[in-house]
């Protein structure tokens, strides 16, 4: 099984490959229409209105749909995301940035999102979003983050391997 971390800065790419990740590229943009060709396009969410806009756009991944631990995704957003083939991206960096008490609220909100996604069949992708060497983690650690958020072990492995591989394949076909 090949693991991918689609979102990490170029400075840490070589370290990622030595940790066992495959080569794959993603980029965070504000507007999906301005995304460069051939890379997986991540658009950052946060509020319910923003998440609604992103899942209706041509983005491949809605990154960090929950900000500040408030549940900003409803079943309608998940359904539209599933219909449009938009995956939900959960970044490890978001959990590392916040304090312990806010992290607890974040975990709670993401658990509810994961419940919605698994019930409705929407895809989830786990990324590190590392900006420096202190933000990167090994594949098993990204899998453990998924398990912490309510995915089964196989689902978590799938969101670090097969879902990114599918997104990369989709980008290369276009």
């Amino acid at each position: 099984m090949k693991y991918y971390d689609l979102l990490a800065s170029h400075e840490v790419r070589s370290v990622l490959q030595s940790l066992g990740f495959g080569a794959g590229d993603g980029v965070v943009v504000d507007d999906a229409r301005r995304a460069p060709a051939g890379v997986v396009c991540f658009v950052r969410g946060g509020s319910l209105e923003l998440n609604r806009l992103v899942v209706r756009s041509k983005a491949h991944v809605l990154l960090d749909p929950i900000a500040d631990g408030k549940m900003s995704v409803d079943s309608a957003v998940v359904q539209v995301a599933k219909d449009n083939g938009v995956a939900f991206g959960i970044s490890l960096a978001q959990f590392l940035r916040v304090s312990r008490s806010r992290r607890a609220h974040l975990i709670n909100a993401y658990r509810r999102l994961v419940q919605l996604c698994t019930r409705m069949g929407a895809r989830i992708v786990l990324v590190s979003d590392a900006r420096d060497a202190f933000g990167i983690r090994s594949p098993v650690q990204l899998v453990s983050l998924g398990v912490l958020l309510g995915l089964s072990v196989n689902q978590a492995k799938w969101s670090v391997s097969e879902v990114p591989a599918y997104l990369l394949g989709e980008v290369s076909v276009k």
Partner: protein
């Protein structure tokens, strides 16, 4: 009669890890225990039976049970500072015996 039947014993898992950033043994052991305690709480800590079995030269092995293995790895994942310095913990591998974790420990990044 056995004091505790083998079938009821916990299944130990040993996690080999490498610390990047800080190498002080006491600081690392304390930070890892606090991270696990902070994430899964006292009850979870008791279930995990967590302890740092050995640590030297930036690499070490910690113990957990199979029931709480992923919680322990997640706690190690969420370590971003040890003491006042930035650091991160890389999980090298998981095994059922300490002997086999040594195979993971000497793999260089």
């Amino acid at each position: 009669m056995k004091p505790f039947p083998a079938v009821l014993r916990e299944h130990k898992r040993y996690v080999a890890f490498r610390v990047h950033g800080v190498l002080d043994e006491q600081a690392v052991k304390s930070a890892l225990s606090q991270a696990v305690l902070g994430l899964i709480g006292e009850s979870g800590f008791a279930d995990a039976n967590f302890s740092v079995v050995g640590y030297a030269g930036g690499e070490g092995v910690c113990r957990s049970t199979d029931l709480r293995l992923y919680d322990v790895i997640a706690a190690l994942t969420l370590v971003s500072r040890i003491g006042e310095q930035p650091a991160w913990v890389e999980v090298l591998g998981v095994s059922g015996t300490i002997r086999k974790t040594n195979l993971y420990k000497h793999r260089r990044v």
